[in-house]
């Protein structure tokens, strides 16, 4: 059963991203959107756990939410893929279920 995990809260404000990355199994997809996009940035206190997780899970970030917040692609952790809304839909279809972390 493949799972798409979504995180829409800032990793500095809540533990959602850390819980998600701790419990997502190998091969899962993780999509960061809304305030969750801050978790995709390199050079932060949370970057290391995200970089470590990239070995086991695929991590995606919603481009429109990055753009709204002034987060440029150049600031992303290497290996994180940017998707648009259509890509978000594709991820939900490709996986058997969605786990929306709050």
């Amino acid at each position: 059963m493949s799972t798409l995990h979504t995180v829409n809260k800032s990793p500095f404000d809540r533990r959602a991203l850390e819980s998600c990355l701790r419990l997502a199994t190998k091969g899962s997809a993780v999509l960061l959107f809304e305030d969750g996009v801050y978790g995709a940035m390199k050079g932060t206190e949370k970057s290391a756990i995200v970089e470590k997780a990239l070995g086991d899970v695929s991590i995606y970030v919603l481009g429109a939410d990055m753009k709204a917040r002034g987060v440029d692609t150049s600031k992303l952790i290497d290996g994180i893929k940017v998707v648009d809304y259509k890509g978000f839909v594709d991820l939900t279809v490709e996986n058997d279920k969605v786990n929306a972390w709050l």
Binding site: F12, D13, A64
Partner: protein, 135 residues
């Protein structure tokens, strides 16, 4: 005791995930009309509110970040940003909006409104305030 009080607005949340940032900015701009001594502080995820390069055109919500540039015209020119909060998020002063004001005591010279301060300095600044609003 003077009628003018020191007002501090503390901003702690990222801009678009909740309405707090926009509400705070509205209250500051309304309050500025009452000629009080107004300061703002950006701590925690609040520092993201004044990140430059925001473009919400794909979201269908208002990009209110240009409105922070109006603060200088309302004599809101003491904008404190906590250094530790910036560093935790991999940000520097260069990643923030270039907010300016014209100093009437210095021949209207254009000056920077944003002051990056340490937690210790900010604690002292907060201690001096008479009215504090936290968003």
């Amino acid at each position: 005791m003077s009628d003018i009080k020191k007002f501090m607005y503390i901003n702690t949340k990222a801009p678009y995930g909740t309405i707090y940032a926009w509400e705070s900015l509205e209250v500051v701009l309304i309050g500025a009309a009452f000629e009080q001594e107004v300061s703002m502080a950006f701590i925690g995820d609040g520092v993201y509110q004044i990140a430059k390069g925001q473009d919400t055109s794909d979201l269908g919500v208002k990009n209110f970040s240009p409105t922070y540039s109006a603060l200088g015209d309302y004599d809101v020119n003491k904008i404190y940003v906590e250094k530790e909060s910036l560093e935790a998020r991999g940000l520097t002063l260069d990643d923030l909006l270039g907010l300016k004001y014209e100093d009437e005591d210095d021949d209207w010279a254009e000056k920077d409104s944003i002051r990056v301060v340490s937690s210790t300095e900010l604690a002292e600044i907060l201690e001096q305030q008479e009215v504090v609003f936290s968003f």
